[in-house]
Each structure stands twice: as C-alpha cells, then as structure tokens.
Symmetry: C2
Subunit: 791 residues, 2 copies
C-alpha cells in the first residue's frame, strides 16, 4: 500500500450517479434474493407466483453492508488495494452475495449462476431455499472468512487476518448490536497488538443502524460526545458518515474513505519508511444510517425504515395482503432496475466497470480462501528436540517445556507464517523456550523490568480466550499457521467459537473452490489433575466431550503421555489441514516413558501395547490396563508395579492411547481402529481397566460398539476437585494407582479370593495417604518418589 | 443511603496510623496463609518446620484487595452503609479471608477457627491445604458471591447484585488483566441499565497493578489521557489513586472514597428526591499500585514488588534457600505483628474497632448469602394461563407466547424480585406478553418509534449472553429470581459461566451457613429444529449434554412438548432453589396435546404413557415410541398415525418424556425413575424408537443401565443442518415421521415381511418430499397440515 495518488475528496456528478446506481443494483439484488422466485427483472407485473412461499432473511442490515461494499470497490480501484471484507452481521448475506455476484466473482465460482436474467433468477431463488445457499455469509459465500451467524467475532477475525499481511486492508463492518457482545467489546484492543510495519491495516466500520432485533442499541443512543470519547479511548481516530440522503451520504463516504486511506498510508509510511515505532491512532468509521435504508417507510401504518421493524422481512404475509405485494413491487421498482440491467439482464457496462477486477475483487481476494496460499510450515525435525529417555520411567521431564524448544525451532524457520497465542499463560504453561526465537507482541511502552516484549514479537498474549481463538481463526483462515495454548478448564470460554469454526471447516470441505486451510491447533495444559495453585474452578476436562459430540469428523484429540510423544503429536498437527486438533498435555515434571523412536511409532499408531510394561509376555492377558493422558498413564504404571509385586504370575497387558479417535469404529471415524485390531489389542473377554484423563463416559461412548465393551471399566474425572495435593486429586476421583489396582483385584476372577490380603493393604495405603496429606500438606514420599523399575 | 454527614476528606494522624495498622494486619494474615503451618505470630524465629511444604497461592493481587477492603470498612462505618465486596481477581482469596477473619465474620461462621493465636494457626494452615479451603474466593468464603477463578465476570455479577437493591453499594474490584476479557469488556455498559432510583450503586475499582500473570496489561500501559478517555467513554467519572507510599495512598484513598460516596449520594438524591430521570456519569476508581505491594522488593537479585514476578509466591524453594527463608521472616516482621496482635493473638481493640459490626461487616452482609433473604415468588396459578385443548392435536399454539402471558402475571406480583433477561430475543422468542406488566430497561434517550422501553423496565435486553447470564447469576445469588431466555445454539456462548455457576451451587449446598438461593432458570428456544431464518450456525442442541456431563446433581432438563406443559414446568422451576433448570421449548405454532390438568400431572410425573395416542390398549406393546421435545413429539405422533392406518393391529405404546432426568437410574439422580417403573413403561423387550430433541447419544447414556437399553434406537440431531424447511430439517436428521415409521417397520419382527409395501410407500414419500421442497421451497401440504385424529 502506498500513499494516495490523488487528493480528490468528492465525487464528480457522473461518478456519484454511477456509484449510486451500483448501490441500487446491490440493494435490488438483495431484495430479490429475499423475495423472488421468478420475474427477476420485474419485466411483468409482480404476482404471488413470483414470490417465495416462505420469506426468510434479514433486510435491515443489508443496505448498509451494500453501501460500504460499493464504496470500498471505489477505493480499491482508485488505489489498487487488496481488501478483505468482513461482514460482522453475517445475516446480511443477501448484500454480500449481491455484491460478489455484481463483480462477477460469484459466476466464476458457481458457473451455474451466470450473469444475465437466467442467472439472476437462480441467484434469487437459491437464497435461503431448500437445496440452495444459507442465509448467512457462510463458507459458500465468496470472499468471506466470517459466517457472522453467532455475533461478536468480526473484529477479532479481522485482526487475525491482518497479522503478517502487510499489504492487506481488512474492512470490518461491526453491527451496533454485535458491539454489545463480550468478544467484540474485547476486540477493540486488537489495535494494541497490530504492528504497523509488518502487519496489515484493520479498518473498523461501526454500523450504527440504531437497532439490534427489537431494541435500540447501546452505542447508537449514546450522545455523539460520549461515543466519540469511547472510540478515542479505544485508541482510534473516528470519522463519521451520518445521514440518510443517498447523495450526501455518497459524498461523505467517498471523502471519508479517502481520508481514512490517507491516514493509514501515512501511518504505514511512518512505520515502514521513517522507521518510527509507536502505536498510532488508527482511523475508523462510524456509519450512522437507517436500518432498512431505502426499504419500505411505512407498512400497515407503522414506521419501518429506520426502525427495528426493518430487521428481517419488512413486508410479510404477501398472500394475505395484496397491499404488501404492491408495496414490494413498488420497493423493487424504486431501484429502477431498467436503468441498471440491460435487456439480457447484464449489469450495464458503465456500472460493471466500477468493480475491481481479478483478485482485487473482494470476492476473489486469495486471502479469503486461505487454502489458496499453499505455504506449508518449514518444520525442523521434531526428533532433534526430544528428551533422552534411556529407559522407561528413568528420567523426569516437563512435556510442555520440551515442546517450547521445538516451537522455538518452528518459529525461527517460519517467522512470517506462524504465531503462538495464549491468555498470558505461555510462560505459566512452560512454553517459554519459544521466546528465544521471538518475543511477545507489544506495541505499548516498555519498562526496564519487562522481559521478552517486542513490537514485532510473534507470541500473542492477551487475557482473552476469545481474542486468542478469534485471532488464530482469522490467521489460519487466511492461510497461516498457529497454536493456541490454554488452561484446560478455560477453553470452555470459547466453546461456541470453536464449535462454529468446526462447522465452518466441515462445510468448507464440501465446497470445491475452498482450499484446505491449516488446522486450528489447541494445546490444553495446566490440566485438571495438576491445578496446584487453584481449585475446583480450574478443573474441567469437558472440552473433549463437547468437540467429539459436535464435530467428530473435523476434530482430532490427542493425549500424549510424555514429552517425546507430545513432540511427535504436535509435529503431526502442525502439518495437518482443516482439522481442529486438541492436544492435552501436562506441564509439571513427570516421568518419561518413550524414547524418540518409540514415541514417533506409538503416535503414528495412535495407540499400542506397551510390552515393556506388560507382564503377559504376549500371552492372553488376565487383565488389560489401558490409559490415556499423562497422569492416568503414570497411575496405571504405578498400579502395574504394585500388582506385579503382589501377584508375580498375573498377566497384565498395558495399552496406551494417544489418539482418542482410534477407539471409535472405523466406520465412524477415519482414525478408528478396525474391529479385528481392536479386539486383538484389548481382547474380547479380559477385564479392561481404563484410566482416562477426562469424564469416563466418553470412553464408553467411543468404544460402545466394540466386542470387549462390556468388560470395560473406566476411571476418570468424576467432578471431585478442590485445592489439594496432586496425588490426592487422583484419589478423590478413584484414578490413583491404589484404586486402579483394587479394581484389577476385583475384576480378575482368580484374584477375588487370592487378592484379599493385598486388597486390605491397598485400602490401608489409601487411609494412610488420606491422613498423611491432611497432616503434612504433601504427598506420601513413596508415592511422590515412585519410579518405574524394569522387571 | 443518604448524603455524607461530614465533609472531612483527610485522615487524622491517629486514624491514618490505625488504618495502616489494620491494613498491615490483613497483609500479615495473607502472607501467613500462603506460607505458615505454625508459629503464626512469629514468636519464635522462623524455621522450615513452620512453613508449608507446598507453597500455593497468589500474593500479587492481595495487598491491593486488602487496601480496598480496609478503606471500604472505614466508609461503611462513617456512613452506615451496606456494601457488597466483589473481588474480581478471586485468586486474592488470602486477602478476602484475612479481612473477614479480622472483622470477626469468619469465626462466627466457622467457630473452629477462633480469634487468637490458635485460631490464627488454623486459619493459616487450612489455606490451599488438603482438607482445608480453596485458594479462591469460593462459596466457603464469607461475604463472597463471586469465585473469581475464571476471570471476567466480576462486573456483571456486581450489576446483577445491585439491581433492585436500592440501599446497596457494590464495590467491584476489577483486575487489569481481567479487564482484557470479553465478558468484562462488555460489562462496562451495565451502567446503561442501572436505574439510580430503584437500583443500588456499583462502584467499579479498576485495580491497575500493572500485570496479569507474566505480562503487563493493556490498560496499565495506556497513557493517562487515553485511559481516562476510555473510562469516560464508558460513561464513568474516574478518580485516580496512584502511588506506592502507604501514607500518601491512605490519604488519597480515604479522600477519594468520600468523594465517590458524595457523588453517588448526589446522583441518588437527584433521582430519588428530585425525581430527575437521566443516566448519570457514575464515579469509579482507578487504583494504580504495585503488584505485590509491601512484599519482597528483590529476590535472587531480580525485582519482584511492582513486577509480574509478584503474581504468585514471590519467595519459593525455601527448603533449598535459607536466604529465602530469612527474607520471608523479614517480610512477615515488616508488618510488625507485635503492634497488631496482643499476647493472646487477638487483634488489638483499637484496630478491631475499625471494622463495622453485625451485618454491616462485608463478610456478613445478608445480600452475600442470598438464601438468607427468604422471599419466594408470589406465583399466580399457571393453570389460569393455559390453552384450552379440547382434545389432543386439535388446536395450534405457540408455547412461548403462552408462557409470556404467565410471565406477565409473575412479573406483576413480584415487581421488585423478578426479572427477565435476554439478548434482545424476548419478542423474537414470543415472550412479549410480559411487556404488559413491565417494559424493557432503558436509561438512554427514547424515540417516538420506540416500544416498551422504560427506565424502570424489568426486562433486560442486551446483545450479550455473558451479561444476561452474569446479571441473572448476581441477581439470584443475592436472593432474587429470574429467567434467561436464549436462542438454543447461542447458550454455548456462556457454557463456561453456567458451568462455574453450577459448581458454585454444588459447593454451596455443602456449606451449612449458605442458604439455598433461587435456581438459575434458562429457557432455550428458537431451537435447532426451527431455525427458519437462519442456518447451520444457529443449530446446536448440545448445551444439554454439556450440563448433564458437568453437573448432573445440580442440573434439571425439561423438554415440555406443548404450551400447557411449558407452563407447568416453568412454574415448577420458578419455585425451586439451587438448581440450574434448563427448559427447551419452541416458539413456532405447533399442535397442542394436553389440557391443563393432564399437563400438570404429566409434568409432575416427568414422563408417562400417552394412552390416547397408543394402540396397545394396555397390552404388551409391539413397539414403544418414545419422544422428548416438541418437534420429536409431533413427528412421533404423525408416525403413529401413519402406522395405525397401515397396520391396524400393531400395538404401539407412546411415551412422552418431559423431565430428561427421569431416564437415569434412581441411584444416579433424585429424579430417576425406579427400574421397576422404567421397565413397566418401556418394557424390557419391545423395540423402543426414541425421537429426541438433541444429540441421540445422551439418551443412550442416560438409559445405559436400564434393562431395555439394548432395544433402544434413538433418532435425534445428527449435525445435519442448513437453511431449509422445518420438515426438511427433521428429514435430514432422520427424525421425521417417515423415518420413524420406517424404523418401526424394521424393528418390529412381524413387520419385517408384512411391512414391505408400506416401507416402499414411505420411501416414496421421502422422495416426493425431497423433490417438492426443492421445487417449491415449502413443505408438502399433507405434512404441513397434518392433524392428529382420534382413532
Ligand atoms: C451471539 C448471538 N446472540 C444472539 C443472536 C441473535 N441475533 C441475530 S441478529 C441480532 C441483532 C444484530 O444486531 P446488529 O449487530 O446491530 O446487526 P444489524 O442491526 O446490522 O442487523 C441478534 C441479537 C446472534 N446472532 N448471535
Ligand atoms: C478466563 C481466565 N483465563 C485465564 C486465567 C488464568 N489466570 C489466573 S490469574 C491471571 C492474571 C490475572 O491478572 P489480573 O486480573 O490483573 O489480576 P491480578 O494482577 O490482580 O492478579 C490469569 C491469566 C483465568 N483465571 N481465567
Ligand atoms: Mg444494528
Ligand atoms: Mg493485574
């Protein structure tokens, strides 16, 4: 982006006339989509048979979205810009679709919907129609990275898209209702994390059409002074475009966009050419225009344009009201379609010329189809970062700390296409090795006591899971890579966001022209079992359940038991596309089990028998002890060593599960193990004592159709939690070595009797533990210092 | 609250000295809790054996919390105020606990932790200790309604507590990190919904200690001018208390609180006495003080006080570092405990006199123990609002519209203790009957086109599920009642909040002095099956699964099939305490099934056989057709009528489930049906075709241990969704009448052969449907107009 080449600030009469005509065309096409099945150019008088039987859609927001789009087209052409259009109120899809159709993007991607009368008819008909397209700016919509169905994420998506795209301008329309949501309210501070030198620009356009659904909005009813103060407080220089008279509004908007563009260019020049490091007051626009602008003014004697009544379909019940049908015709004709489209239904050439061409069209900007930017990460060999594990259980390691060194390696080689996101937990989660490659993004003043802050740092820390998630979504949807590390319990803050993103990915896969974008990688650490400083509020492993429920086809869940497996799994996730990868791994020092080669093989398999820990020597086992997750693995192995000592002849098979999806039947999930392989590993008749990281029920659900399922007994998180010792947490939930060993004794038929003494000893041990931790505040030394010993 | 009685604005030397001593005592007790097992008054030299083996807690935020608490005490005494203290950074519990102990509240509620040396020792020991108390301001903490573990909800809780408590001042400490979260950022607009005449005051105290965990905070590094602009933009008049020199800070804080109080009193006088209706610029305080203030300045050569290093435990590894142990002793002694406590370890009387007494103590404010305020709702008879249903399936009705009229009745009789909350969906959800009793809270200017807005309206509409949920939490935790109505899909926005609230309720139940607070009632409507205007992003019934997973003991889930059952269920929920009640009900016109008497009985039973719809005439049925939810009930009955016609001898039993929890075994849930009753209803051998509103898996989970479970086949939401016709949505997910009837034919042994023709007809009907909706955009007339006919 360079400086503006002209200083003109008003439109010539012809320009004005064309611009207004183009806007009318977009509005006409929007109304057409909501209402019409046929007669798209109104060449015959409108009758009921031309109208859809069910009228679905949102008119209110649409004329404003169109107004902005049309003016951005002008700016793009004038200055040859790359602009991404984010429609916060995605329910204004009729407008977005109208515009990408007018500029030709739509027909290029959907040749069936051509230019001309027949294409128009199909375009209208398919909207919100069975077998057609959704009513929101969904993956089907060219140029969109933002569905806008669940409101609140436009601005965080916009920032995510702008990071590391220095040539990009992201125009982000924010609904004044949307602005009341938490995620949006937090998003304003994105400007504190945007680097004018290396990132693109974000232009927030606050769309004050006055109403949300049936109520006025908070921001629309503030006094001008209070609103202006607020927006300046957010660090912006606001420009106002206010009114309802199209001619005046066009002039204002054109002038304002020129001004805004000049401001942005000046800011970028200062940062990029003059090398000044400061946080600028980025411009933004407040567009105050009537809701349902240019639509019916009065319906059934009640005001509609400029009120909340314009939100959805201003004229309904057409079959019962000839007057409404007449008003609809009048409304459509008010755009003077005959001036806009020629005989064949083509947009007249002087109007079509207003749209940018090729990839400058907002519907065709490659950034909006992130998979088009085919840059894979250049990954170092994760094996080079592994811990030396001479034998299982011999050394301690902090899994995430080891991962931090790998992430440093990843960062170094991918400086412009990889970022790490977290709610100020990167160091707490022990990933701070990464700071050796890059600091934390910080555009504010620094103090001498600060560490690792840097204006072009690439680790993004903000105490908002919404911003972390939204930035990462925007970043990956525009073709780049990243990882969001989060306390396990607080990922629920963004349940709905991740769910919506998973839906987006699921739908995108079915759209041929959408190329696979990098996966959304979430690392959950500081997990339920090791909330040493915190209590019950920080204990919740339920995100896995939510994701498996909602989006089994899109989601992958990994529970690496130690550092080397965590490396292998992360490497795999960073290479993948179009998934939501959820990795759960602890940060505390824990025993390490697998050397690098074994870890890589184990992760590739997804699950496997740990022969070195088993005592069945390949025989049919008396019991299968399965585990998934680092703490469950530790407790399982400790139980095995107790049992090995007590019952030297007991044949135990230890199975460790890294990739949770392997448990599902092959027909339900591509990672699912075949039934033969599953039965081979878990047997069909031995009791299976399964120690699982999260809510036990999920394991039942995943293995429901397996032959051995009736023998399955799962230990996991039962919801018991508070501030206590790490081992006591497992005891409270029956996940500890003693309970696991007890369960084996109770389930293996020949131990029912033979195990009586050992059972007593284990119960005594539990009592001893209980008394000890309450007396000393610490775990029993033999528990804490337990080490795996080769048999 | 009346006008300030004195105009003094500075502390006398004695007052200053006492206040500072009291603050030192609170800080001393905070450090003691984090570190000490014994030697609470440091009467012997500190050794390792006095110190906890595991050091857990957060020091950084604590001195600031203490500072504020101590000064609020002074204000309370001076003006005889009722103040609720909300500690946003609840991880500062050592401070909150220290203060409620010093004022005597703690020992009153926990007599075992007395005043004096022994009590101090126990107080210190129990903190973050196995068997002791949590590290956050949890339900165990007197005076707290806010755990503060998951950050972001303090200010929304504060507003919720202040509504309809005109005499209350809610002092809300907001962490500068917390302020970065979405929910908190949205919460600032709470002041646009607070009525100075009828509500209490909220005093936000932004605690700029500069850091979150390891990073500076966004707000702390803004220039003074930008921060001030932002806070004024939020509609506040900010006052600043900034520094690190205790003496100066005490004077500033005392003066500022007097000023703030005078402002509040003036605002309230203007509204209450002068009768002026306007939205005032409520005062707020910015407290800029060092993180870990008064703690170690330098540890191991690195600065700690005033930096992020003070966040948790500034001196760790004591057993390896005699120097750290020495520094700890020095730190503790710096508070000069001998000046604070007498020989017996009692706070010296001149200091103890600084605390308010009785219920003026913030630890004993009855508002903070909402169950103490025992006002049940005065409920009108819901039967009076029922729809006349002369026979099943004869009339149409919109369930939520009927509910709206009942809510009007509830509102009228409970004007000061009942509110309705929603993200501007009350009218969209067709609850607008309630406006006849009360309008929507609106303190901003109004326009002539506005409807139902009113400064003292009691329906709260803000486009933030976070605010709706948080306000309702604050409102119910302080003893009042309410209902939050929400689009079903978007309740996931507050998954984490509802989860945390359920945890709070679960823990509260085990605390004898906490009285049961009114339930949190959530009405989910505009549900997955009727997203006519919207698509996939609005389709998600997964909240039920989440809640059942997380908090089965606290959660109740109701799926009333029609208007009268919705009334009955809602009545029941409004009477209950300490639950999270989730009600799922549609808003669209649907057939009505039960008259009022039958509805009340059916809801009381929770589930039951619908004999009028069954064809088994009390015999052993060939098939059980169960249903839960309005749309599944409709489709089930339509399937029954198809089957009845095709197979006049087929014995079908129809079971409708309203209370989902009845499906669980009695031992797992108090609502669970006995196995005998369950087997009686569902049989143990007939196939059960279960049509369920949400994800099918949940029904399997709930009925897992039932004898008939292996015969259970659940139809529900499979994740297929888009913008299409209502009936097509059910077809896409196999929940429609045709698929249900087909399943019956396939599962009932004697129909396998006999049903061949009918099977073909049903498949043909599905094909016809598919073609028809794609051709016309509407459902088949015989589907749309289907009515239940008595046999
Ligand atoms: C999180 C969320 N809550 C509620 C809704 C329901 N909803 C759909 S549109 C709308 C109003 C939007 O108002 P605004 O952002 O001002 O958009 P516009 O006026 O441009 O239509 C609401 C509340 C939603 N889509 N998302
Ligand atoms: C939603 C959420 N995300 C992350 C955390 C982890 N966390 C605990 S304390 C903290 C920093 C809090 O900073 P601030 O609000 O400034 O409190 P203070 O400085 O007073 O400790 C964070 C990020 C959390 N508790 N809640
Ligand atoms: Mg709006
Ligand atoms: Mg802070």
């Amino acid at each position: 982006m360079t400086a503006p080449t002209t200083s003109r600030s008003t439109l010539s009469p012809t320009e004005l006339q064309h611009l207004d005509a183009y806007w009318r065309a977009a509005n006409y096409l929007s109304v057409g989509q909501i209402y019409l099945l046929a007669n798209p150019l109104l060449r015959e008088p409108l009758t009921l048979k031309h109208v859809k039987p069910r009228l679905l859609g949102h008119w209110g927001t649409t004329p404003g979205l169109n107004f902005i789009y049309v003016h951005l087209n002008r700016l793009i052409k004038e200055h040859d810009l790359s602009v991404l259009y984010v429609a916060g109120p995605g329910h204004g899809a009729p407008g977005v679709v109208a515009n990408v159709y007018l500029e030709g993007s739509y027909s290029e991607l959907y040749p069936d919907i051509g230019l001309g009368e027949d294409g128009l008819r199909k375009l209208f008909r398919q909207f919100s129609f069975p077998g057609g397209i959704p009513s929101h700016a969904a993956p089907q919509t060219p140029g969109s990275i933002h569905e806008g169905g669940e409101l609140g994420f436009s601005l965080t998506h916009a920032y995510g898209a702008a990071f590391d795209h220095p040539e990009l301008l992201v125009a982000c329309v924010i609904g004044d209702g949307e602005a009341e949501t938490g995620p949006l309210a937090a998003s304003w501070h994105g400007n504190k994390f945007l680097n004018a030198r290396t990132d693109g620009a974000v232009l927030p356009i606050l769309h004050l059409n006055g109403y949300k659904i049936a109520n006025p909005t908070v921001l629309a009813r503030l006094s001008h002074a209070e609103l202006d103060t607020l927006l300046r407080g957010y660090g912006h220089t606001p420009y106002y475009v206010e009114g309802d008279e199209p001619v005046l509004m066009h002039q204002q908007m054109a002038r304002t966009l020129e001004q805004v563009y000049a401001d942005i260019a000046a800011i970028q020049r200062r940062a990029r050419v003059d090398g000044v490091q400061e946080r600028p007051a980025w411009p933004m626009i407040v567009l105050r225009s009537p809701k349902g602008w240019t639509g019916p003014k009065v319906v059934d004697g009640l005001p509609v344009e400029g009120t909340w009544r314009a939100h959805q379909v201003p004229l309904a019940g057409l079959s019962d009201s000839p007057e409404h049908l007449r008003q609809l015709e009048e409304w459509l004709l008010s755009y003077r379609p005959e001036e806009l489209f020629d005989e064949a239904g083509m947009l007249r050439p002087e109007l079509a010329a207003l749209a940018p061409s090729g990839e400058r069209r907002m519907g065709m900007n490659p950034v909006s189809n992130g998979g088009l930017l085919p840059r894979d990460l250049d990954l170092p060999d994760f094996r080079d970062y592994g811990l030396a594990v001479p034998q299982p259980g011999a050394v301690d390691g902090e899994a995430t700390r080891v991962l931090g060194t790998f992430l440093k390696g990843v960062m170094e080689r991918n400086m412009n296409i990889f970022r790490l996101f977290g709610p100020d937990e990167t160091a707490s989660n022990r990933l701070d090795g990464v700071y050796a490659a890059s600091g934390k993004t910080w555009e504010e003043p620094q103090l001498s006591t600060d560490l690792h802050l840097s204006p072009d740092g690439r680790v993004m820390e903000v105490l908002s899971e919404h911003l972390c998630e939204g930035w990462l979504e925007g970043y990956t949807l525009t073709g780049r890579h990243g990882l969001f590390s989060c306390y396990e319990a607080f990922i629920h803050v963004v349940d709905s966001m991740v769910g919506q993103h998973a839906k987006w990915l699921g739908t995108s896969r079915e759209i041929p022209w959408r190329r696979p974008v990098p996966s959304l990688n979430i690392l959950l650490t500081s997990h339920v079992w090791r909330q040493d400083h915190n209590g019950s509020s920080h204990q919740d492993p339920g995100f896995i359940d939510l994701m498996v429920n909602k989006a089994p086809a899109v989601v992958r869940v990994y529970l690496p038991p130690d550092a080397n497996t965590l490396l292998s799994v992360t490497d795999h996730c960073l290479r993948s596309r179009e998934y939501v990868n959820v990795i759960v791994a602890g940060k505390q020092p824990e025993l390490q089990w697998l050397n690098m080669a074994d870890a890589a093989k184990h992760c590739a398999d997804g699950l496997g028998v740990w022969a070195w820990a088993s005592t069945d020597r390949g025989d049919t086992p008396d019991v299968v002890m399965a585990c998934a997750g680092d703490v469950p693995t530790l407790e399982t192995l400790a139980a095995v060593s107790l049992l090995r000592e007590a019952f030297p002849d007991l044949k135990i098979r230890v199975v460790n599960v890294v990739d949770l999806m392997t448990l599902q039947p092959q027909i339900e999930h591509p990672h699912g193990l075949s039934d033969a392989a599953f039965d081979e590993i878990f047997t069909t008749d031995a009791p299976i004592i399964f120690a699982y990281h999260g809510y036990p029920w999920l394991i039942h659900r995943l293995t429901y159709r397996r032959a051995g399922h009736r023998n399955l007994h799962v230990h996991g998180y039962k919801g018991e939690g508070t501030t206590t010792t790490p081992f006591d947490m497992t005891v409270l939930n029956d996940l500890d070595r003693f309970h696991l060993a007890l369960d084996v004794i109770n389930r293996v038929p020949h131990l029912k009797e033979a195990g009586t003494d050992v059972r007593q000893q284990l119960l005594a041990k539990l009592a001893e533990h209980h008394a000890y931790v309450r007396a000393t505040g610490d775990d029993l030394p033999d528990v804490k210092n337990w080490r795996w010993a080769e048999d």
